[in-house]
Subunit: 435 residues, 2 copies
C-alpha cells in the first residue's frame, strides 16, 4: 500500500519515490537535494499515477530547462493520425512534454491513446474540452461540470492541467479599469472571462479551488496555473492586469502546496527583451519559487512566420534568467495550426533556446556537449560534428551539398580556413598550400 | 573646396555634413546631437568619399541597430552573377551594409561593380584579397604591400575595412601562454598570426598603424578593428587572449580618433548568454564607446544548420545591452558558403534580433511598428497584418494554406479564437456561435 498521494507529499514525508530516483539519475543530481526541492515546490515531477508509460522528468530550479510541444485537433484541422504521428516525432526529438490542445471531436479517445504510448508527460487544458464534452453552449456549463472535466482528464492519466483560476472577479475588474490594446488573448482565459461575465458569477476554478485540489491530489495531477491575462502584444506587457493575476496565482500556489498538490505557473506571452528578467523575478518572488512555464516570450510582434525565432530569443533569455519550462512556438504561430514541418522547426528552436540557457545557468552536462562539438571542429572531424549536431541530417546535407576544394575544409573558406591555417602552422607546414 | 577629410573631422569642426543630415532624418534624431556623437566617436557614418551611390547610415549609440550581410566568391563557389544577385536582394531586404569577402579571382572588378550600384555601405577585409592580388605566398607579402591593398580598397570606394591590428606580438604571446580549445578562428586573424610567426616580425597593421590612418583619412575609410582572438567556441569565450586584444584595440581607437578616422570594434563570436552583457560593457569601456560590431554572438556551438537562430538569440541580447551593429549569420554557417535562400533566412533572423533589441533600447520608431501590428491583430485585420509582417509573403502563404471555418480566425483556434471571443462579448454576441 502506497504511503503517499502525490510526489510532493512523498517528498515532505522524506520518501524517495521511483520517479524522483529516475529524475535524479537523468539530471545527475543528488536524490536528497531533489526531494527537498519537490517538498518545497521549486521542482515538480508531473506524473499522474495512471500514466504508466511515462518516463518522468523534473521541471524547476537547478534542472535542465525542459520544452513542451503543443498539438491536437481543431475543427479546421482534425486528422487524428496526423496528430499522433506528430506526437511520436516530438517524443523522438526529445520533448519532455506534450500538451494535447484538442478541442473538436473525439478528444477523449485521442487523449487516452496518446497517454498510453507517450513516455513524455502529457498536459491538457480541460476547459477547451468542456464545450465538446457536454455539447452545450459555454454559458450553460455549470461550475460542477467544469470540475468534472478536470476529473475526467485526471482519470485518463493526464500529468498536468492548465487551469485559469487567476482571472477571478477582482482580476477581471482590474482588467476592465485598465484598458489594454489586445484585451485577453489566452484562449482558455477568454472563455472563463466570457462565462463569468455572461453568468455574472465568480470563476468556478477560483471559487471551488479546494475541490479542484482534491481532484488533483487523487491522481497526482500537477496544476499549471494559466495566465489568462498574458500580454498578446509588446504594448500590453507587464501591465496591471497581468501582475494582478500573478498575485492571485501566488496565493493559490500556497493553497495547493498545503494540499500537497504540485504547481507550475504559466507566463507570457509577448514582451520586450527589457521586460523579461523582471517578469521572471516577479514570478519567482510572488509565487514562492514555483517553476515558471513560459510561452515564448515573443520579443516582437512583427514576425509572423518566424515566431519560432522570436520565441527562441525570448525563451533563451527567460530561461537564462530562471524560467524552467519553455512552451515551443512554431513558424505557424498566429497563422495556422502547425504542420509536422512547423512542429519540427519549433522543437529545434526551443531546444536551442533551452540548451543555450542551460549553458548560462551552468546546468550539469550542458557545457560538455559544446566542448565535444568544439573539439571536433578544432580537429576538422566532420563525422563527429554531424553526430554532435542538434540536427545531424541537416548539418550533413548542407556540408555535402557543395564539393570542396580542400579536404576537411568547407566551401565558405576553402584553403583560407582559419583552423586549417593554425593547425598547419603548428605542424610546420605552409598555410597557403592545398594539402 | 571641402573643409574636411572625414565625417569625424567635420563633426569636430562643427560642420553638419550632407551625410549627417541624411542619417539624422532617417533616425528622427537631432542633427546637432548626432554631430556630437560622430565627433566623440560613439557614432560612425561609414561613407567613402568615392562611394557616390551610397545612402548613408549611422552606426552607434542611440541609433537603430544595423545589420550586415556577408557575401563574395570563394574558390569553391565563384559565380559573380550569383553574388551580385544576392547583393541586390540583400539591399531590397533592408541591410545597412554588405561585406564583400571575396577571396578568389577577379575581386577588384566585382568590388567596383558592387560599389557602383550599392546604396548600402560596403565593407571588406583587405587581407583576404592580398594573396590573390599579389599572386604570392603569404609569407612573401611585405608590410608595405599589405597597406597598399588597403589603399586600393579605399580608392575603389569601400566604406569600411576590417583590419586585424590588435593581434600584435604581445597579444600573440598572451595567446601562446594561455592555451584555448579552438586557437584562432578568425580567417584574417589566422593569416596575420601565421605571417608574424613565419617572418618573425610585428603585425604590419600594428607597426604601421599611423600609415594606415593616413590611407583611411584620405578616403574617409572607417576602420573596423577586427578581433583575431574572437572565441570559436563557448569554451574560449572572454579569455585572456580575447581581452588582451581588446585592450590593444582600445589604444588604437584613440590613435585613430586623433587622426579623425572613424572606428568600429568587432566582437565575438561564440559565447554563453551569461557572458554577453559583460562583453558589451567591456568593449564600451575599454574602447571608449566606439560602436560595437558583433558576429553573432552564437550562444551555443551545437546547432550547425541553425546558427541564424543561435546568432539571433545572441545578437538580440548583445544589441539590447548596447551592441550597435549585427553581422548576420545564416543557416550555412560552419557548413558551406550561403546560398540565396540561406542569405534570406539569415537577413530575416538578424532583422528580428536588431528590431527586438531596438524595442528594448527604446529606439525611435521601434514601438510604433509593433503597435500597428498588434492593433491589426486586435481587429482581426489580416491584410494589415500581412503588410506589417517582416515577411508579408510568408505570413500570407501560411495563413492561406488552410481553409478556415470561421472568417477572420485562423486554423489554430477557429471559433475558439480568444480575440474573437472577447470582441463578441463586447458587441453583445454569444462567443460560441459561428458568425
Amino acid at each position: 500500500m502506497k504511503k503517499y498521494s502525490t510526489q510532493m507529499q512523498a517528498a515532505k514525508l522524506g520518501i524517495n519515490t521511483p520517479q524522483m530516483q529516475q529524475v535524479a539519475a537523468k539530471e545527475q543530481v543528488d536524490i536528497d537535494w531533489l526531494r527537498e526541492q519537490v517538498a518545497q515546490g521549486s521542482v515538480v515531477i508531473p506524473a499522474n499515477i495512471g500514466h504508466t508509460s511515462l518516463s518522468p522528468e523534473g521541471v524547476g530550479c537547478g534542472l535542465r530547462t525542459k520544452i513542451n510541444v503543443n498539438l491536437g485537433v481543431s475543427k479546421d484541422a482534425f486528422c487524428y493520425d496526423a496528430e499522433m504521428a506528430k506526437a511520436q516525432a516530438a517524443i523522438r526529438m526529445g520533448t519532455a512534454a506534450i500538451m494535447d490542445l484538442s478541442n473538436y471531436g473525439k478528444t477523449h479517445e485521442f487523449r487516452q491513446k496518446l497517454i498510453q504510448c507517450s513516455t513524455a508527460m502529457i498536459g491538457t487544458v480541460p476547459v477547451y474540452d468542456a464545450l465538446g464534452f457536454y455539447e452545450k453552449e459555454l454559458l450553460e456549463i455549470s461550475a460542477e461540470e467544469f470540475l468534472n472535466v478536470v476529473e475526467e482528464h485526471g482519470k485518463d492519466g493526464v500529468d498536468f492541467v492548465t487551469i485559469h483560476a487567476g482571472i477571478n472577479q477582482h482580476t477581471a475588474e482590474v482588467f476592465e479599469r485598465n484598458p489594454r490594446l489586445m484585451n485577453i488573448v489566452s484562449r482558455g482565459g477568454s472563455l472563463m472571462y466570457a462565462w463569468m461575465r455572461l453568468n455574472n458569477r465568480e470563476n468556478p476554478f477560483y471559487q471551488y479551488f479546494d475541490d479542484l485540489l482534491q481532484i488533483c491530489r487523487r491522481y497526482d495531477l500537477t496544476l499549471s496555473l494559466g495566465d489568462a491575462m498574458r500580454p498578446g502584444g509588446i504594448h500590453d506587457s507587464t501591465d496591471a492586469s497581468q501582475i494582478q493575476e500573478l498575485l492571485v496565482l501566488g496565493e493559490l500556489t500556497k493553497r495547493a502546496w498545503a494540499q500537497d498538490v504540485q504547481v507550475m505557473i504559466e507566463g507570457p506571452g509577448h514582451m520586450s527583451i527589457s521586460d523579461i528578467a523582471a517578469n521572471v523575478k516577479l514570478e519567482k518572488k510572488l509565487c514562492h519559487n514555483a517553476p515558471f512555464y513560459v510561452l515564448g516570450p515573443l520579443v516582437t510582434d512583427i514576425a509572423p512566420g518566424y515566431d519560432h525565432i522570436t520565441g527562441a530569443i525570448g525563451g533563451a533569455i527567460a530561461a537564462a534568467n530562471g524560467a524552467d519550462f519553455l512552451c515551443y512556438v512554431t513558424p505557424a504561430e498566429h497563422l495556422r495550426l502547425p504542420t509536422m514541418e512547423d512542429m519540427k522547426e519549433g522543437i529545434i528552436a526551443a531546444k536551442i533556446a533551452a540548451h543555450a540557457a542551460d549553458l548560462a545557468k551552468g546546468i550539469k552536462g550542458a557545457w560538455e556537449w559544446d566542448y565535444r562539438m568544439s573539439t571536433a571542429r578544432q580537429e576538422l572531424d566532420w563525422e563527429t560534428m554531424f553526430n554532435e549536431a542538434i540536427d545531424p541530417i541537416k548539418a550533413r546535407t548542407y556540408r555535402e551539398s557543395v564539393q570542396t576544394e580542400v579536404e576537411h575544409s568547407c566551401s565558405m573558406c576553402g584553403k583560407m580556413c582559419a583552423i586549417r591555417t593554425i593547425n598547419k602552422l603548428r605542424d610546420g607546414d605552409q598555410p597557403g598550400d592545398s594539402k
